[in-house]
C-alpha cells in the first residue's frame, strides 16, 4: 500500500550556545502511522518537537509538510499548516469551559455583534467531542471540574480541531508524554483514539519514556541519543523488546579506567544513613536501604521510577508521607535542606545554574555558601580567609579561573560543577547526594569529577549517585539499587572485579 508522506525532515541541526541539541536529524512521517519517539532526557526529542510545532526554529535543515516548505513561526501557524501538539504540561485554562478552551484564540466565527455566541460555541464543541467519541464530556463544563483523563481528551480535541479544521490532507499530531497522569483504563481509551486518528489518514507521534506503552501503540520507533537519531525500526515482536530499546537509548562503551575502578574500595561496616519503609504517596513506596561509610550507591531507574523524588526527600527538599530516616542511629525529621545539612547531608542538584550555584556571586563566595563557620574570624565572615580557602580548592580541584573573585555565572559546565564540589567539600557533609553530577560536563572534566568522587568516598564519606547513564552508575558504585514505579526492585553488588551487566539491570527497570 502506498504510504502518503505528510512531513519530511532533512538534516535538521539545532545549535544552542554551548550545546548541540540536534545533530543532523532526518526523518519522514507518513499518514496512518504511529511513530514512537524515545530517548533519555536531553537526547533531543523535545527540541525536535519544538521545531516541528514552531516554538523554535532549526539552525539549519529543511522541513516540508504536504510537499511544501514548512517553517512556522509559532504554534498558531503550525496548527494552520496541519501540525498540532499536546504538551506534557496540560495547556488548558482551568477556569474556562471546555468549549472556550477548544476554541480559544479562534473565536472569530462565533462573534455576533461583538459578543461571543456561547450557545453556538457550545454546539460546535459538542460536535467535536462527539467526533472524538467522548460525548460524555459536556461542552459547557469548566475544565477544572474534569478529571485528568477527561482533560487530556479535551486537549487532544482542542489540538485536533485546531489542526483538522484547516488541513484536510492529513495532520501530524504530537503527543508528549500523554499518559503520565492516566490510569490503565484511561490509557486504553487514549490508544483507541490514537488508532482512530491514524485510520482517518493522520499521523501521530507518540513521545514517552514508558517503553511498554510505546511498544504497544507504535508502528515505528525512533530512538534518540545525544542529539542524534540512532535507531529507527519497525515495531515487530521479533526485533523489538525493552532491552533492545534501552540499549539503543543509553548504551555506551567505555573502558574500566574511565570510572577508576582501581580506586574503588570496600565500604566500612558502619551504617551512616538508613531508610526504613520510606514512602511518599504518589511517588515512591516502602524504600528501605542502608548506606555505609565510604560507600557509593548508584540508584537506577527510568523517569517515573521515583529515584529523583527519593533523593529530594533524603536531602530535605521534600517531605515523605511515611517511613523513617535514620542518621547515625537517630530517627530524624528533615524539614529543610538546612536541617539535613546540620545532620551532615548535602546534595549536588541536577540543575546546576538554578540550584547549584549563585550566578551573581563570586567563586569564593559560592564555595563558602554551605559552611559559613569555616570562613569566620572572631565571629564575622572574613573575605580574606574565604579567598585563601577558595584558592586552595581551586588548586586542588584544578578549577579554571583567573581568580577566585570571578563570578561563576560565566563558567563552563565542568568548572561550575567543580565549584559546586568545592562547596560540598568545604561543607564537611558526610552524606552526599549527587544528581547527574556529570551532566553537561565535557569529557575531560568528567574524568576529573570521577576522580573527585573517588577521593570523597575514600576519605570516608558516603555518596548516593543518580548517574547520567546506566553505565556510569554501575561503574562508580559499590552497589546498584534499581527502582521501578516507585519501588526498589533489586539491589546488585558491584565490586570492581565483577560489575553487573547493563542488560541484567535493565530487566528490573522496566
Amino acid at each position: 500500500m502506498e504510504r502518503k508522506l505528510l512531513m519530511s525532515m532533512k538534516n535538521i541541526v539545532k545549535q544552542y550556545p554551548g550545546t548541540l541539541a540536534l545533530n543532523d536529524i532526518s526523518m519522514d512521517i507518513y499518514a496512518g502511522e504511529v511513530l514512537g519517539l524515545i530517548g533519555e532526557n536531553g537526547a533531543g526529542k523535545s527540541t525536535l518537537m519544538k521545531i516541528m510545532i514552531g516554538a523554535e526554529t532549526a539552525t539549519s535543515g529543511e522541513l516540508r509538510m504536504h510537499g511544501k516548505n514548512y517553517a512556522p513561526k509559532n504554534p498558531i501557524e503550525a496548527n494552520a499548516l496541519g501540525v498540532g501538539m499536546v504538551f506534557q504540561e496540560q495547556s488548558l485554562i482551568l477556569n474556562l469551559s471546555v468549549a472556550q478552551n477548544i476554541f480559544i484564540g479562534r473565536e472569530k466565527r462565533f462573534i455576533r455583534h461583538g459578543f461571543v455566541d456561547r450557545k453556538a460555541m457550545n454546539e460546535a464543541a459538542a460536535k467535536v467531542l462527539a467526533e472524538m467519541e467522548i460525548p460524555q464530556i459536556k461542552a459547557s463544563t469548566r475544565v477544572n471540574r474534569l478529571d485528568f483523563a477527561s482533560r487530556q481528551m479535551v486537549e487532544i480535541a482542542k489540538v485536533f480541531d485546531a489542526v483538522n479544521g484547516e488541513a484536510k490532507e492529513g495532520s501530524v499530531i504530537l503527543l508528549d508524554e500523554p499518559t503520565s497522569v492516566l490510569n490503565a483504563e484511561e490509557i486504553r481509551q487514549l490508544f483507541k483514539h490514537v488508532r482512530r486518528l491514524c485510520a482517518a489518514g493522520n499521523a501521530v507521534i507518540f513521545v514517552s519514556h514508558k517503553l511498554d506503552e510505546v511498544m504497544e501503540i507504535a508502528d515505528r520507533i525512533c530512538v534518540f541519543k545525544d542529539g542524534c537519531l540512532v535507531r529507527e525500526m519497525e515495531n515487530r515482536a521479533e526485533e523489538v523488546n525493552e532491552a533492545v530499546l534501552y540499549e539503543a537509548m543509553v548504551g555506551r562503551t567505555a573502558s574500566n579506567e574511565y570510572y577508576q575502578l582501581g580506586r574503588q574500595r570496600m565500604p566500612e561496616e558502619t551504617v551512616v544513613l538508613e531508610l526504613k519503609n520510606l514512602s511518599k504517596r504518589g511517588f515512591f513506596a516502602d524504600v528501605s536501604l542502608q548506606l555505609h561509610r565510604g560507600e557509593i550507591i548508584g540508584i537506577c531507574g527510568v523517569i517515573g521510577s521515583g529515584k529523583e523524588e527519593l533523593c529530594a526527600v533524603i536531602s530535605g527538599d521534600e517531605d515523605p508521607t511515611s517511613g523513617e530516616i535514620v542518621i547515625g542511629g537517630k530517627v530524624c525529621k528533615l524539614p529543610s535542606p538546612h536541617s539535613a545539612l546540620r545532620q551532615g547531608i548535602l546534595s549536588v542538584p541536577r540543575e546546576r545554574r538554578a540550584g547549584g550555584i549563585i550566578s551573581d556571586f563570586s567563586a569564593y563566595e559560592n564555595i563558602y555558601m554551605s559552611n559559613y563557620d569555616k570562613v569566620k574570624k572572631n565571629g564575622v565572615i572574613s573575605p580574606k580567609l574565604a579567598r585563601e580557602q577558595a584558592e586552595e580548592y581551586r588548586k586542588e580541584l584544578d578549577i579554571k579561573l583567573p581568580n577566585v573573585d570571578q563570578k561563576v555565572g560565566n563558567l563552563s559546565g565542568g568548572n561550575a560543577q567543580k565549584v559546586v564540589f568545592a562547596r560540598v567539600l568545604a561543607s564537611d557533609a558526610e552524606v552526599l547526594l549527587l544528581d547527574h553530577p556529570t551532566r553537561g560536563v565535557d569529557v575531560g572534566a568528567k574524568a576529573e569529577i570521577y576522580s573527585i568522587i573517588r577521593d570523597i568516598a575514600n576519605q570516608g564519606k558516603s555518596l548516593i549517585v543518580l548517574g547520567d547513564t546506566l553505565e556510569e552508575s554501575i561503574g562508580l558504585s559499590n552497589r546498584v539499587v534499581v527502582m521501578k514505579d516507585g519501588e526498589v526492585t533489586r539491589i546488585f553488588d558491584a565490586p570492581p572485579e565483577k560489575k553487573p551487566e547493563q542488560v541484567d539491570i535493565v530487566k528490573y527497570m522496566m
Partner: protein, 326 residues
C-alpha cells in the same frame, strides 16, 4: 538574543554603579541649584535641619534595604513608624524613658509579624505588608485618639536629646542614625545570615538547596525593617515633639525610593545597605531645598511620585531571569 543579553548584563553590573552615580551627581547638582536660589541652603542651621530630617528616612531605608535584598518588599514601614511615634509620646508620659525600650520592642514585634505572615503563611510580601500597613495605621489612630497633639512639658526632658548637636551642625539624631546604619551594614555584609539574605534575593532555590536557613534570613530581613521603622518613628516623635498619627504615611514609599536610589536592586541580590545613605540624602535634600525656597508641599508630593517612578525605571531589570513582570 545572546548579544543583547550580554550587553544588558554588563550594564547590569554597572547598573548599581549607574544609579549610585546618578544619585551622587543629583545630590551635588541639586544642592548647587538650591544654593544659588537661596544662600541660606548651605548655612550651618540648614545643614543641621537636613541631617535631622535625613535621620528617620535613613532608618526606614536601611531596614527596607534588607527586605528589598530578599527580592520582597515591605510597604508597612511608614505606618510602623507612625505607630511607634505615637506610642513613644503616649508611653513617655506613663513609664518614662523605659518607653524607648518598649517602642523598640514593638518594632521587633511588627517586623516579626510581617515575617511570619510572609514566611510561614506564605503570603506574598506586598499584600502582607499592605495589610499590616493598615493594621498599624489603625493602631496609630487608636493610640492617639486620631488627633495630632503636642508633647506635654513633663516629658520634654526625655526628648531633649533630640536638640543636641556637635559643632552646631551635626545633630545627635544623625550620629545615632549613623551608628545604626553601621550596625546594619556589618550585619548585612559580615554575618552568615546577612549573606544568606543576599543569596536568597539572587537565587532562592539554590540558597535553599545549599543548606542555608532561608526562613531565618527572611525573618531577619523583616525584623530589621520593622526595627528600622520603629527607630524612625522615635526620631519623628523626638524631632517634632508631638504625636502625629499620620507622620509616617508618606514615608511608606519614600523608604523604598531611598534604598533604590542608593543602588539596591528591587529584584534582590544586589546592593549596599550603606549606600542607602546616598539615596536618603538625595530625597532629604530635595525635600529640604523645596522648603527653603518655598515650594508648595503639594508639588513636593508630585515630585516625589515622579522621582519614585524614575528610580523604579532606572532600577528595572531588563534582562530579568525570564520572570514575568506582574
Amino acid at each position: 538574543m545572546q548579544k543583547e543579553n550580554s550587553m544588558w548584563s554588563k550594564l547590569a553590573f554597572n547598573r548599581e554603579t549607574m544609579i549610585k552615580l546618578f544619585s551622587l551627581v543629583s545630590v551635588i547638582v541639586i544642592s548647587c541649584v538650591f544654593c544659588v536660589m537661596s544662600p541660606a541652603f548651605l548655612s550651618r542651621r540648614n545643614l543641621l535641619n537636613i541631617l535631622k530630617d535625613l535621620s528617620p528616612v535613613l532608618m526606614l531605608a536601611c531596614g527596607e534595604a534588607f527586605v528589598l535584598m530578599l527580592g520582597s518588599i515591605d510597604l508597612s514601614t511608614g505606618c510602623i513608624a507612625s505607630c511607634a511615634a505615637v506610642m513613644l509620646t503616649v508611653l513617655l508620659g506613663k513609664i518614662g524613658p523605659a518607653a524607648y525600650l518598649v517602642v523598640l520592642g514593638y518594632g521587633v514585634f511588627a517586623g516579626l509579624f510581617n515575617g511570619v505572615a510572609h514566611t510561614y503563611l506564605q503570603i506574598p510580601s506586598f499584600i502582607a505588608t499592605l495589610s499590616t500597613q493598615a493594621i498599624w495605621q489603625s493602631c496609630a489612630y487608636l493610640l492617639s485618639g486620631g488627633q495630632p497633639l503636642a508633647m506635654l512639658p513633663d516629658i520634654w526632658p526625655y526628648v531633649n536629646w533630640g536638640k543636641a548637636s556637635f559643632f552646631e551642625c551635626v545633630p545627635l539624631l544623625f550620629v545615632v542614625a549613623f551608628l545604626v546604619l553601621l550596625a546594619y551594614t556589618v550585619i548585612s555584609k559580615y554575618t552568615g545570615i546577612g549573606k544568606t539574605v543576599f543569596a536568597v534575593g539572587s537565587n532562592e532555590r539554590a540558597t535553599w538547596l545549599m543548606g542555608q536557613n532561608v526562613r531565618l534570613a527572611k525573618m531577619l530581613a523583616f525584623l530589621m525593617s520593622g526595627l528600622g521603622a520603629a527607630i524612625a518613628g522615635i526620631f519623628f516623635a523626638v524631632k517634632l515633639k508631638s504625636r502625629i498619627p499620620t507622620v509616617g504615611v508618606q514615608y511608606n514609599m519614600l523608604g523604598i525610593a531611598a534604598a533604590v536610589l542608593g543602588g539596591v536592586q528591587m529584584t534582590g541580590g544586589r546592593g549596599s545597605v550603606f549606600m542607602t545613605l546616598l539615596g536618603a540624602l538625595l530625597i532629604t535634600i530635595i525635600q529640604n531645598g523645596m522648603n527653603v525656597i518655598g515650594v508648595d508641599g503639594l508639588w513636593q508630593q508630585i515630585i516625589f511620585g515622579a522621582l519614585m517612578l524614575a528610580a523604579i525605571f532606572m532600577n528595572s531589570d531588563k534582562d530579568h531571569k525570564g520572570l514575568v513582570v506582574k
